[in-house]
């Protein structure tokens, strides 16, 4: 009898606590700016910007640093939730939960150009405007801005760099990090279009490593086994480049097989210094983050918003590694 009474009392207490708290609101979160009225810059102080990157890696950490620094100037705080894997199923619940906290704006790097569209549409309908950073959606109309490196140009630059390294002849392989992520697709396409202009280069095709360095290493080993005369590799992001360099090192082919990587994390700079990688195409994630915050501020205060911004890339080689502006381009692991 006592156990039952105790349980019933507990339940009553919990129910009362919930109902007290629930007195707050029962509707969808209200947007921070109604149509027609916009805020002044001073109003922004104390508001929150939500940031959901694709996965935990130095590229997104550098972007987070850029966002936090830029938001700080307006007195805004940034809440970041990082998916454990570069997967739509993992990122989706984070989007929904963050929108429930009603940030002033949501900056997101969608892990899939299609799968995140329903959740982001819900976000916009709930009054939280969306900005796309780095990766993009197939239908960008729901976001007020889309900021990324011009990945197609970056892929083309990688093709030119690799062609130069291998003497414009030989077999080349691309390791694409994720089919369906706009950045991976764009870099791959940019590379393929540009490499086709070199008549003596044989393009072996693209292999997908699902953002897993171990898979990238396995792909490189397998390709070397099938094509011992492999001349060059283009790795389309940080994890692909790390894994591919490991694969080359394990096969004893580092230096012989030339590699151009995308992204410039600390690990990749080490690989560049060791000679496992010959060139890195570095993006400017801090600048992407900064631009995103500025566009969000413009949107919230009723200013002009640029719908699409392409930031540029920097090519890092062993030669220019110690220049000051190149050192700035290296990604951070912490802010």
């Amino acid at each position: 009898m006592n156990k039952a009474k105790r349980s019933a009392a507990l339940l009553l207490a919990a129910a009362m606590a919930t109902s007290l708290a629930g007195c707050g609101t029962t509707s969808a979160p209200a947007g921070s700016s109604d149509e027609g009225t916009s805020l002044t810059t001073a109003d922004l102080a104390g508001m929150t910007i939500g940031f959901i990157p694709g996965v935990n890696d130095p590229f997104y950490v550098s972007m987070q640093c850029g966002i936090e620094a830029a938001a700080d100037e307006y007195g805004m705080t940034v809440t970041t939730q990082i998916p454990q894997q570069f997967e739509a199923a993992v990122q989706n619940p984070l989007v929904n939960a963050m929108v429930a906290t009603s940030p002033a704006a949501l900056l997101i790097a969608p892990t899939d150009a299609q799968a995140l569209a329903p959740a982001l549409t819900k976000s916009v309908n709930a009054g939280v405007p969306v900005a796309l950073v780095d990766t993009s959606l197939e239908d960008t109309s729901i976001a007020f801005t889309s900021i990324a490196t011009d990945n197609a140009v970056g892929g083309g630059q990688a093709a030119d760099a690799l062609a130069g390294l291998i003497g414009e002849k030989g077999k080349v392989l691309v390791i694409a990090f994720k089919a369906g992520a706009s950045t991976s697709d764009a870099r791959q396409k940019g590379f393929e279009d540009q490499i086709a202009t070199y008549p003596n280069i044989t393009y072996l095709g693209a292999q997908i490593n699902d953002n897993d360095p171990a898979k990238a290493a396995a792909i490189v080993s397998a390709t070397l086994a099938a094509n011992p005369d492999l001349a060059g590799i283009f790795a389309t992001n940080l994890f692909a480049a790390t894994g591919a360099a490991t694969g080359l090192r394990n096969a004893g082919a580092e230096g012989t097989v030339k590699m151009v990587g995308f992204d410039a994390g600390a690990g990749q700079i080490e690989q560049l210094e060791r000679g496992d990688v010959q060139a890195l195409i570095a993006q400017k994630p801090g600048q992407i983050g900064q631009n995103a915050v500025e566009q969000a501020v413009a949107y919230l205060t009723g200013g002009t918003v640029t719908k699409s911004i392409g930031t540029d890339t920097v090519i890092i080689t062993q030669d220019n590694l110690n220049d000051a502006d190149i050192q700035d381009a290296i990604y951070k692991e912490t802010c």
């Binding site: 156990k3 039952a4 349980s7 019933a8 507990l10 339940l11 919990a14 129910a15 606590a17 919930t18 007290l20 708290a21 629930g22 007195c23 707050g24 609101t25 029962t26 509707s27 969808a28 979160p29 809440t79 939730q81 990082i82 454990q84 894997q85 997967e87 739509a88 199923a89 993992v90 989706n92 619940p93 984070l94 929904n96 939960a97 963050m98 929108v99 429930a100 906290t101 009603s102 899939d112 299609q114 799968a115 569209a117 329903p118 819900k122 709930a126 089919a179 369906g180 997908i208 699902d210």
Partner: protein, 347 residues
Amino acid sequence: MSTSSTSTNETPSTAVVGHDDLYRQPKLLMSVIKSDTFRLFLALVALIAIFSVLRPAAFPTVYNSLNILSDAAILLVLAVGATFVIITAGIDLSVGGVLVFSGVVSAMVMAGIGDGTPLTLFIGLIVALLAGTAWGMLNGFLVAKARIPALIVTLATMGAALGTSLLITNGIDVRNVPFSLVETVGSGTWAGVPVLVWIAMTVAVIFGIVLSQTRFGRHTYAIGSNAEALRRTGVNTSAHLIKVYALAGMLAGLAGYLSTARFATTTMGGHSTDNLTTITAVVIGGASLFGGRGLMIGTVIGVFIPVVLQNGFVVLNISPYWQQIAVGAVLLGAVYLDQMRRRSRDR
């Protein structure tokens, strides 16, 4: 045998041993409140209360509640199937792989037919269910007839199902899913509640009734409790095991269809830990891994606890990595409680 609880002053029958009270059935409300499942429910309510008090504007809203329900829906469908398997003292690690395979096959069929008519969507559903059931029957056959431990069998089929999906798609997710599927099933709502949630709840209710009220359910409990005894009463336990694993496979197939509908694409890389999340949910819900115990309502609560934890942590802006630690702790607690119960019963 048991006397009815009467309020007259009759002398109890001499055929009855002991006092009248011993034979009185406890009132339903009392037995509910004293049960372990109720304590689990209180734990869930306490969690919700804590998050609501900490973030009253964000957490206890209709919008967020629907988020939580949507996030839990697909996991719930998987967990319903896993409940049956775990009650038979078995285990099914292949749910993630079967989910992916069914989603892929159904997406390819629907994309192949091309138009987005309701008939196409229905055909896709049937394909997904059949694909899942096929893998489930394979699991059941290997467990029941070939007598290979379920852990090994389902581990193997998980790899085989996932590998087959990657093979037939060349590793690239199927993205040309008919948009009408996403609109109606994936993102659609009915009476304000997402369709996904209605489907998951219907599945839980139907199979909860099957588990507790039908002979199929009773045999499931019996196999988990003492399979040999059930076999000697003349029931074909092998056939029953095959049916149980087939059911789990079918529900994994349904989950694959729902996942494709929700994300507008198959997500082949995103389901590698689904099996462990499902087992965690079922065990937190009170089912014993040694078989013979478990309630569907417990599974439903067990599904919501990790989902509410994750949602609450994001709303509170706590790193989601803490959620994994929290769920691990809850799981340990649940298994420990189960061990205590077993020990006190065996004494």
